[in-house]
């Protein structure tokens, strides 16, 4: 979102700008409501038996990722951010997944334990 224009100089332009922000506000409220709904869904799903606990975990993590995605995309403006920030986050994401994946892999590859 751009900086707002100076009110004292051009009231009309400012009104337009304020209106634009107002539109965003509606979006935020909607996402907030959606997040609450999804929280309810997560809780409800945890009482549904998907056969194995692993399946329950997968479903819950899927919903959580969806919620986290909404927070990141809308509240944290990642849906439309500058390239630099995407770059930082891509590297971070890569390394954190590497951390998870390689430790996990190493664990399952220890002949001693299996």
């Amino acid at each position: 979102m751009n900086n707002p224009p100076d009110v004292s100089q051009d009231p009309k332009e400012y009104e337009e700008y304020a209106h634009n922000v107002q539109k965003h506000v509606r979006g935020y409220l909607m996402v907030g409501a959606l997040l609450l709904v999804f929280t309810g869904i997560t809780v409800a799903l945890s009482y549904v038996d998907f056969g194995a606990r692993k399946a329950n975990i997968a479903v819950a993590m899927l919903v959580a990722t969806l919620k986290a995605g909404m927070v990141a995309a809308i509240f944290m403006h990642l849906a439309a951010e500058k390239r630099l920030i995407y770059r930082i986050l891509i590297f971070t994401g890569f390394f954190v997944l590497g951390l998870f994946w390689l430790i996990y892999l190493a664990w399952y590859d220890y002949p001693v334990f299996h």
Partner: protein, 291 residues
């Protein structure tokens, strides 16, 4: 020379300084919680059958806290939008709402949830004594249904002195519903609403017990990671609340009058941090409360 791009954006990046800074900080936070969650995954994969407890936390309270945190994320983004529209009054109210949400979250955690756990007792029974306590554990029923074995008897410890006094030979426990009526099919899955311990008192001999503690971090790998991760998360919430209080105080009104955009930027940066804290909780909640 003044430091450039504190409020205006640098042309080639399109960003002002603090925005770059906060995203870098959040990147490192991702790695911090990444390390903790990888530990959680590990301890959980490592846990032998029956050693990762379920349904020990209070789901309705956890759900409420989740909702409060989501609500505060909405209010902080509205506070920022209000500043962008130069409506200081609205900003002030939204900020107050955010601060209150944070305070409520922490209060619930520190005054209700944690102390309730500290007051709960669990005793892991030695493998050879499991049969002796079959009436409280219902392992035959569990095995028949394909459920993981129950190795622990939980509830309210009647004789607290037993924890420290070596002359007391047994724990007297007001059993949790699951141990009071273990073969009831309703106990196969955790309850949704919190059910307090029953009035059924069970003696558990100390020599049959592998390990007995209150629900402290030392109780199990589960509670260790629960208290560590929620504790660290709570410290983040506290940090956020303190920053918001600073931005809500009259000091910041002076900044607003001097340069409203500067305050808006500050709120945006603090907001980004706050959303991240919310985002972490979105994962913490199902991992510890529900799964």
């Amino acid at each position: 020379m003044e430091i450039p791009y504190t409020v205006s954006t640098r042309p080639d990046t399109g960003l002002w300084n603090a925005k770059v800074g906060i995203w870098l900080f959040l990147a490192s936070e991702v790695m911090l919680f990444g390390g903790l969650f990888s530990a959680y995954i590990f301890l959980r994969l490592d846990a032998p059958p029956g050693m990762w407890p379920h349904g020990l936390l209070n789901v309705p309270v956890g759900t409420m806290n989740t909702a409060i945190l989501i609500l505060s994320s909405v209010t902080v983004v509205l506070a920022w939008a209000a500043l962008k529209m130069r409506r200081y009054r609205a900003y002030w109210w939204y900020m107050l709402a955010t601060i209150l949400c944070g305070v409520i979250f922490l209060t619930v955690k520190l005054v209700y949830e944690w102390p309730q756990k500290f007051d709960h007792f669990g005793a892991y029974i030695k493998p050879e004594a499991l049969g002796k306590y079959e009436q409280y554990l219902g392992n035959e029923h569990a095995a028949a249904k394909g459920l993981p074995p129950r190795l622990e008897i939980t509830g309210h410890l009647h004789n607290r002195a037993a924890l420290t006094d070596p002359n007391i030979k047994e724990y007297e426990v007001y059993l949790d519903p699951v141990n009071a009526d273990p073969t009831n099919p309703a106990m196969d899955r955790p309850h949704f609403l919190y059910v307090p311990p029953t009035h059924k008192l069970a003696p558990i001999e100390k020599e049959d017990v592998e390990r007995a503690t209150m629900f402290l971090p030392t109780h199990s790998a589960y509670f260790a990671s629960y208290f560590t991760i929620t504790g660290l998360h709570g410290m983040h919430v506290l940090g956020g609340v303190l920053v918001f209080i600073y931005m809500w105080l009259p000091v910041s009104k002076k900044l607003y009058q001097r340069n409203p955009e500067h305050l808006a930027n500050r709120v945006e940066v603090a907001g980004l941090f706050w959303h991240f804290v919310d985002l972490i909780w979105i994962f913490v909640f199902p991992l510890f409360y529900l799964l």
